[in-house]
């Protein structure tokens, strides 16, 4: 999918995301980016850094704090053939504008019998780990994925951030693009090592709906996504030394969910741990386990999940770190399924 061979050039995830947007905006005048503080601020999490300078305020557009109005505006513009990218600053704010998202953006194509397309990208920041409390730390991808009619992509690294953004902008369907603050490589937040990485310079497309095996292994499959991929990789690398061979599957997209990749990997390893920073129940972790169970795959151990407990996310660091699906809990779950 990569037309330029990966060079050594390294970018952080937010710059990789902005680069994809810039390239698509150069190529297609119908693309524009709209949201709160996406202009001179460059996006609270850097999603639009530098874009205002190149494209000006007609295409990189700051909005009032009126999510229902401006997301709806994006929908209407998309139905007229434009290709809006609209930023919901934190996914936690979905509650003030979910109707436009799930009853309109996601349903118009179906309700119109395919006659009206809504080629729109909704970008939004997710995730916790920096004590932002119960209203600014959620992932909620399970919520979005449960509601039909929108694709959901969740990059974990700079190259995928670029490639999935390119694919999302080109997709004729609404795509929700959820970027974890902890993978953006922001200067003002603890960075994980892989939030800066090699990113292809030219056109780079990562197809939506294909998971990636980011580490091969033979004993247990960790199905995960977003920031948790890195925690899983850290643990996998550490356990490798002990002779536990962990495969890490980065879902990259929830809708479509690459069920075949899950089944293929778990079919090989016979063990499954799902690591999910979203709330545990009625969400992604259950869906992944059910996917394996309903195919009747014979497992060597009961599958296990490491997720946010079904509780609001606490502020105090000691409490938040107790609920986040981080290294210790992942390691413990892997050891448990290994028996």
């Amino acid at each position: 999918m990569t037309t330029t061979a990966p060079s050594g050039r390294r970018l952080n995830t937010s710059k990789a995301m902005a680069e994809a947007i810039a390239q698509e905006m150069r190529a297609n005048p119908e693309v524009f980016y709209m949201g709160e503080d996406v202009g001179s601020y460059g996006g609270i999490f850097g999603s639009t850094g530098g874009l205002l300078e190149e494209f000006g305020p007609e295409r990189i557009i700051d909005t009032p704090i009126s999510e229902t109005a401006f997301i709806g505006l994006g929908i209407g513009a998309a139905t007229e053939g434009m290709r809006p990218i609209v930023e919901l600053m934190f996914v936690d704010f979905m509650g003030v504008c979910l109707d436009q998202i799930y009853n309109h953006m996601a349903k118009i194509h179906f309700e119109s019998g395919g006659n009206v397309k809504v080629p729109m990208v909704l970008t939004t920041a997710v995730g916790g780990g920096y004590s932002d409390g119960a209203q600014h730390s959620q992932c909620l991808w399970g919520t979005f994925a449960h509601l039909p009619g929108m694709k959901i992509v969740v990059p974990s690294n700079p190259a995928d951030a670029k490639g999935l953004m390119t694919a999302a902008i080109r997709d004729d369907n609404p795509v929700v693009y959820m970027f974890h603050k902890g993978v953006m490589g922001l200067p003002w937040m603890a960075k994980n090592a892989r939030s800066i990485g090699v990113v292809p310079e030219g056109e780079h497309v990562v197809p939506i709906g294909k998971a990636a095996i980011v580490k091969q292994g033979s004993d247990v499959t960790v199905v995960t996504l977003s920031l948790s991929v890195h925690h899983a990789l850290d643990v996998a690398e550490q356990l490798e030394g002990e002779g536990i061979s962990v495969e890490v599957l980065d879902l990259r997209s929830l809708v479509p969910l690459d069920r075949e990749a899950i089944l293929e990997s778990v079919g090989r390893t016979g063990r499954l741990v799902v690591v999910d920073e979203d709330y545990q129940s009625f969400g992604l972790s259950g869906e992944v386990i059910a996917t394996v169970a309903e195919r009747g795959l014979a497992l060597k151990a009961a599958p296990s999940r490491v997720a946010m407990p079904d509780a609001p996310i606490p502020y105090a660091q000691v409490l938040e770190y107790a609920v986040l699906p981080r290294h210790e809990r992942i390691e413990a779950a892997i050891r448990e399924v290994m028996g």
Binding site: G72, G76, T79, D99, F110, S112, G113
Partner: protein, 347 residues
């Protein structure tokens, strides 16, 4: 976002002479209203034809909720008379009169209401979800949530310099929903070419306007967005026509949005099956019907006579029955394809 469009402004449509509209304009308004009414009476007939014994909302060739706009035709006729190809309308759960006045394909719309594969949405949408991309028409069953997408259509028109505008419709009940406020403000700040229309039929289902709305006129709210607002009293189609024309021309000139409220009338229940026990003086409602009143005015003014009236009625009836026949003759969608169109077909 604050630059004024340098789009070519479409020629203004013919407006009235002094305070008397031209005869042809008035006849057109009348024709539109009659067509919409004829349509809804036919839908009423078809809707109830097979709901029995008793009334089962899920039964019949047209199942589900049915919100008729009978009585509210002056709003749609007066506004849409000014629209030109490329202009957009986003309507509500009570969309037929606007769809008809805006020229939505009547066959396809009727087929949609009958849940047929030939329908606007191939039977997926239903009467609250009519999408006609040719007419740039859409509607939504969620109160006030049709406003924001209209902004986006207006945004696209402005960007492209097409000179087109978008009309966004809600009821007076919907004017207390957050989306109403956000949309008016955003359209005003970005000077988008939108006409916001509020159909005040005095009721939000069973809740009277006085119990839902803190001010007597939503036009009073326009000042909160620095845009012009106006309220037309008495369901007067001529007055709607005049004011809508002024606001629409203004929007086409790039001067931004405006708000038009019309005091109108819900002739029937909120939806079919609503016994309206909450509504006082129910027996007097039919006397307030704007269509016979307009008819009399046109006859008095010598614009309409009995023969022409008859001709218009027959033309409407023929058109409507043809649409209903088209719908009934159309195939049902295939159960195998119930989940088709969630996403676009891959290339």
């Amino acid at each position: 976002m604050t630059t004024v469009t340098d789009a070519p402004v479409p020629e203004p449509t013919e407006t009235g002479v002094g305070h008397q509209l031209a005869d042809e304009v008035r006849l057109d308004l009348y024709r539109t209203m009659v067509l919409a009414r004829t349509y809804e009476l036919a839908i009423l007939r078809e809707y109830h034809a097979d709901k029995g014994p008793g009334f089962d909302i899920g039964k019949g060739l047209i199942p589900g909720e049915m919100h008729l706009a009978a009585g509210q035709e002056p709003v749609a006729a007066g506004v849409c008379a000014h629209l030109v190809p490329g202009d957009a309308v986003t309507a509500t759960h009570r969309p037929h009169h606007f769809a008809i006045a805006h020229g939505v394909d009547l066959d396809k719309m009727t087929a949609e209401i009958f849940g047929r594969e030939t329908g606007l949405g191939r039977g997926r949408g239903g009467h609250m979800h009519l999408f006609d991309p040719d007419a740039h028409f859409s509607c939504s069953g969620i109160i006030a949530e049709g406003y924001p997408p209209a902004l986006g259509q207006a945004f696209a028109f402005k960007r492209r310099g097409s000179g087109n505008i978008a009309v966004a419709v809600t009821g007076e009940g919907a004017a207390n929903q957050g989306a109403f406020h956000e949309s008016l403000n955003l359209a005003a700040v970005w000077k988008l070419p939108v006409l916001f229309v509020v159909e005040d039929n005095e009721w939000g289902i069973s809740v009277p306007r006085t119990a839902s709305t803190a001010v007597p006129s939503n036009a009073d709210r326009a000042a909160g967005y620095g845009i012009p607002g106006h309220r037309v009293e008495d369901n007067d189609v001529d007055a709607v026509y005049e004011k809508a024309g002024e606001f629409i021309e203004r929007a086409r000139r790039g001067e931004g949005p405006a708000l038009l409220e019309v005091a109108t009338l819900r002739l029937f229940g909120h939806f079919e099956g609503d016994a309206q026990g909450y509504r006082p003086e129910l027996v007097d409602v039919p006397k307030l019907d704007a269509i016979p009143r307009y008819e009399s005015r046109l006859i008095e003014a010598g614009v309409l006579d009995d023969a022409l009236r008859q001709e218009i009625a027959e033309a409407a009836s023929e058109r409507v029955e043809a649409a209903i026949t088209f719908a009934k003759d159309s195939p049902l969608p295939s159960a195998d394809e119930a989940t088709k169109y969630v996403f676009t077909e891959e290339a």
